[in-house]
Structure formats: C-alpha cells, structure tokens
C-alpha cells in the first residue's frame, strides 16, 4: 500500500490516488520502487496484451481474410465476404445461434432455480446435509466430456439404459441423440445435471452469508417462510444472483465439450463454438471463415459483458 504513505486522505476517489501521490512525492520514489512498479504493471499488461488482446484483435482482422493457415503470404484480404456467406449460405449458422440462445434460456429457467431450491433446502441444517451437498455437487467435478460419455450410455438408441427401460413398457426405441428435434433437449438435461450442482454451491455460499438476524426479524414480524424468502432472503442474494447470471451466460456461450463429444456438434446440436472449431481446427483450415464466426461470438459476449460491467459500476457508485 504505497498509497497510505503518501498521506492522501483515504476517502479520496480511488483512481486519482496513485497519480496525485506520484506527483506530490516524486522524490520519494526510489529506483527500486519504480522498478517494482514497472514490473507489477508491466508484466500483467504484457500478459494481458499478449494472451488476450493480440489474439482477439488478430482474430477480428483474420475474419476479413481467406487463409488456409499455411504460410503468412497466403493470407488474402476479402473484406466482408466471410460474413456475407455466413449469413446467407451457411446452413448451420442460424441453428447454432438459436441453440446457444435456447441453451442460455434453459439454463436460466431450469437448473438455476432447481439449484437455488436445493440450496435453500440444504441451508436448513438437515441431517446428512454434507452428504447431500457432496452428492449433488459431484457432477460438477466431472468434465463435460465425461458427462457426455456417461449420458450417451443412457441415451444410446440400441444399447442405452433409457430405451431398455422403456422397452419393458412396450415403448418403441427413441432416437434420443440422433433425432434433431430431441437431441438438444436430451443434451440440455445432461448439461443441467451438472449445472444444478454448480448453482447449488454458489447459492449455498450466498445463503450462508445472509445475516440470520434478518430472517429472525422477518419471522417476528409474522412473515411466512415463502414471504421471508421472497422479500428478505432473495433480495439479500443480489450479489450472488449477478454472479450466477454471469456464469450462466458464460457457460452457455462456451458450451462445447458435451455436444462435440456426442456427435461433433452436428445434426441438431450445432453451437457457435463448435462451428468455430470445425472451421479452424481440423483439416478444414478455413481460418478466416472460422474467425468471422468467432468475431460474431465476441460481439455477442461483449453485449453481456457491457451489461454486467455497467451494473457493477452502478453498484459501486451507490
């Protein structure tokens, strides 16, 4: 905390502090201080530029080119053609966009409330609550690829558990993963199985931080359990809700492993992330085209990030 030694009043607006301190007490900065400062600012900046900004911006730049990834001299500038083709003659694009949106809404509407519900139940100091917590949280430890294998054993048409059980009731085998009208939902259930545990842990942490006195006060005022939750506890969870929202948006946009494992992200399971992969990785090597899809994804994520940051700043100002 170099700041406090400069004698700036602690109430001063944060961004101004180092600058003012620097000016007023320039003579106190030893060479070593400067070196340390340069190191502390320089290294993270360099890492961020090299690992975030350069790849992101070159991806945007490449999206206006045609390139097979072999030799820099084969990059050809083609303007907006990649975008025009993606929007006009690339059949998987709109389904992918739509599936990402469904994914997001489904995650917000199904596993998130279930996670919250489980967290509220587990917050009541039930017996064996730790055991329940561990059991529900367990799928989160698995990678989505593993989740994909597990659920494929359940969903397989000829050899899967679900159809084997249905068969006992005389139901004809259902093609869970091959029917393009069904497979997205089948996959979403598998993804939710994991997401519920994640949401539960987050909400459980949030609930633990709610001051029990609030609940007590509500109870003394005669509020029912539901009223206490709706008007006292839930509003107190606001910070957690923002975290949950952000995580859910991120999870939906980066959803990839599960569908890629199941059928390579085709036939009803198209997602933007998969289209990027199909075009860039693999033998296709359509770097420019894939970059254009990635750029579209970047724009979509930016919208959410902007909403989130605005929200955070507004909060801080309050």
């Amino acid at each position: 905390m170099a700041v406090s030694t400069t004698g700036v009043p602690t109430g001063a607006p944060a961004p101004d502090v180092p600058k003012r301190g620097g000016k007023r007490s320039a003579h106190r900065w030893t060479r070593r201080d400067k070196f340390v400062l340069a190191l502390m600012i320089g290294v993270p900046t360099l890492i961020s530029v090299a690992l975030v900004w350069v790849p992101a911006l070159s991806s945007v730049a490449l999206s206006f080119t045609r390139w097979d990834g072999i030799g820099l001299d084969s990059i050809k500038w083609i303007g907006l053609r990649n975008y025009r083709e993606i929007f006009t003659i690339y059949p998987p694009f709109y389904p992918a966009l739509w599936h990402n949106l469904i994914w997001l809404l489904f995650f917000l509407l199904i596993p998130t409330p279930i996670g919250l519900f489980l967290a509220v139940l587990l917050d009541r100091e039930l017996r064996f609550t730790r055991v329940y917590q561990s059991v529900i949280f367990l799928p989160v430890v698995l990678s989505l690829a593993i989740v994909g294998f597990i659920w494929q054993l359940m969903y397989s048409t000829d050899q899967g558990l679900i159809n084997a059980v249905l068969d006992k009731f005389g139901v004809a085998p259902i093609d869970w993963l091959g029917n393009p009208n069904l497979n997205l939902w089948a996959v979403l259930i598998a993804a939710s199985w994991r997401h519920v545990g994640y949401m539960m842990i987050l909400y459980l942490a949030g609930l633990k931080s709610v001051d029990p006195a609030l609940k007590e006060a509500a109870a003394i005022d005669g509020a029912s359990d539901w009223q206490t939750f709706r008007y006292v506890v839930f509003p107190a969870l606001r910070p957690i809700n923002i975290v949950v929202l952000v995580i859910t948006v991120i999870e939906s946009l980066r959803a990839f492993d599960l569908v890629y494992v199941i059928n390579g992200g085709r036939n009803g399971l198209e997602l933007l992330s998969v289209l990027v992969t199909q075009n860039i990785i693999g033998e296709a090597s359509r770097i420019g085209y894939g970059s254009a899809i990635a750029t579209i994804m970047l724009v979509i994520s930016t919208v959410f990030i902007v909403i989130y940051t605005l929200n955070i700043f507004r909060e801080e100002r309050r």
Partner: protein, 445 residues
Amino acid sequence: MRKPMLPNPDEPVLPAAVFNRRLFLGAGAVALGSIGLAACGGSSSSGGGSSSSGNATGTVTFGSNASDDVPKKAFQATFAAYKSSGGGDVKVNTVDHNTFQEQINNYLQGRPDDVFTWFAGYRMRFFAKKGLVGDVSDVWQKIGGNFTDAIKTASTGEDGKQYFVPLYNYPWAVHYRKSVFEANGYQPPTTLDEMVTLGQQMKKKGLAPLAFADKDGWPAMGTFDYLNMRINGYDFHINLMGGKEAWDSPKVATVFDTWKRLLEISQPNSLGRTWQEAAQTVAQKKAGMYLLGTFVGQQFAEGAERDDLTFFPFPVVDSSVGADAVEAPIDGFMMAKRPQNGAGAKHLLEYLGSAEAENTYLATDSNDVAVHKAADTSKYNALQKQASALIAGAKSISQFLDRDADPTFASTVAIPAFQSFIKNPADAASIAKNMEAQKKSIYQS
C-alpha cells in the same frame, strides 16, 4: 477414408461397442492436441541430429497415427524387421489418430518427423502443392516396379513427382453374414433393383435390410460415392470432388433420387447410431446388409462369426456405367520437407515399399490388403482374398469423399448436407443448391 473425425477403425473393438471409444478419443484430441504435437516436435529435434544428407542406416524419426493396438504392434514388428534387414533404428512418435489428422497443418509447418503416416488422394496432393512435404521420386525409381499404375498415380502429385509410399488399402463393399443369406435363400444382388427387392423381402422377415449409421457424419459419404460412381461414372465423380462439376446439376439430383430408394430399406434413426452399433446389428443378425469398409470385421467376434462375414460389390445401377469402380482408400507414408536424416528416411521408405514390409505389417493387422504386386497373399483370410480380388478387378479406384474432395468442403459442407438429406430426403434440391453455393466459395483459391 479413415476419417478426419475419427481414429483408426483398425482398433480391436470390444464385442459390444457400448462405450464409444471414438468419441472418447475425439474429446481427448481436443484436449491433448497441442500437447501431443508438441511432444512430437520435441522428440524429432532430439532424434536425428545428423546433417540434411544424413546416414542411410542412422536413426530415423517416424510420426505415427497408429494409436490403436493392432496397427501399433504391426508397425513395431515392421520396424524390427527393418532393423534386422540392415536398417537403422526407427524412433516412433505415436499420436492419437484423430489428433494427428486434425493437427496435420501445424505439424507439417513445425518440425515434422522424417517419415510419417498419411493417405493417398487430394489431401496428399494438397500438401505436396503447398511445398510442405518431401519429394520421394528417387525412392519410386527403385520401388516403382512393385506397384500398379493406378497405385503410382495415387502416389503422384500434380507436378508429376511422387510424394507418397503406399502400404495397404481396403475396399468398401456391402457386407453380410453368409448364414443369414443361406437360411433365407437370399442371393447377393448384382443390380440396385435386385438389392431393393431383396430389401423388401428382408423387411417382411422382420430384418432391417440395410444397416446404416451416420452419427459421425462420414459413413454416409461412402454411400454417396458409390451411387455417384455407379450412376455418373468415375470421371464425373472425381471431377465433382475436384469442384469441376456442379452439385445442383441434374446428374447429382439423380444420385440423391436413387439414394432415396436405398433410404427406404435402410435402418431408421441412423443419425443417432455409430458404425460400430450398426455393425453390431449385422453381427446379431438383426440387419441383413451393411455398406462399409472391410474394417467392419473388427465388430465381429474372431472365429466362426468373423468367418461368416462376407461381402458383395456395390451393385450396378446403370448397366451402361457398370460396376468397375471401387472405393478403396490407400494408407501409406510421406516424408518431411527437410528431414533430419534424409538418407535414412529414404532408405526406410524404400524398405516400406517392399513386399517384405507389407507382409510383416499385414501379418499383425489383417483387416487390410497389400498393394505390393509380390506381397504374400497365401496367408490371407477369406475376406482378405475377396477384398484383394475386388480391388484387382477394378478399373478405377476412388479414395473416399474426404480424401478425394477438398477437406474443408468434406467436413463443413458435405457432412451436414448429407445429414440434412437423410433427415428430409424431400429437401434434396435445396440441399444440393446450397452445396453448390458453398462449393463455389471454398474451391476458389
């Protein structure tokens, strides 16, 4: 074929492929891709150390996509034989089959091994044209007499030089169980009409006539390839693959129309099924026939069940075109542009182009057939003999859609297009129109 999206079908597969290894490897490929190749590059740099001319009997590095047990052992045996025949050490870097294929661009631009596994066809010519692989024409001067002209053409780049040394190939054909046909008095059909009639008969018996699986996207390419070659001929097929013919032409429309007839006798729900699962239904006598490469045999238990497996060539559709084109992908080797040990690499390639090398390899991996004229065929099993006869009698040989066509087109256009067609055969016209629009964009360079 041995497709972009999947590892080697030569794997010894569990009798019931409940747990789909391919998917597992696919995911592993994504996760481990860079690591695997990094490891590759690293060891190739530590391997040679000799000058570019190199030492013919010095150590050679070998990049292998044979990540499955059977081919891996087969290569071990082959390299042991190479050493005992007076060759040098071969340092093998095995990378997951899928990963190897997907990362080939980066691999070739980094520090590839001296010699590495690859496939004949457009994909080989593409890298040759880009100047990413070494010219092995002088090796061919020594081994050229061992191979037919068709094989030599398949190993030759656009500039007329050779860039590929073949090892084996395997045909695609319609497989069935002899016992099923005998029990029902079925005859292998020779025309498509007969095949459809046979299919109707099987349906009445409660048998799924034609096993079919396209969850992974590539198996349907085999059906398209054969129909196109039978209806429009080999030359048209190759031109279509090369982007020189239109996908929305009436000729291709006929192919889709004919395919509809096959779909009527095909297993439904094919988009949720893997080829292993489809092969299982044939093994269990729930389905009658299955069009696939001979690697389908891996799903049949060794012994009586495997011996019961046989095939007939894809039937004639148009008698004026006939059935003399066979789909038989060739696997083999290429050499790095700048090998660490060039002399050693060529010495090894020369050995790999010999009958002895093919015999040693096929002694372990018996799902394929040799391409060498003097290879020992006396140890072939019945299926291998049949496969080798089928290929020998072929006038022209195709390599599979994803090896004959631009790989970008194959993976990002053909797969989703065929899958949409299987879902809604009535949309064939609009699907073909879209394929043509995307083809125009992809094939221009």
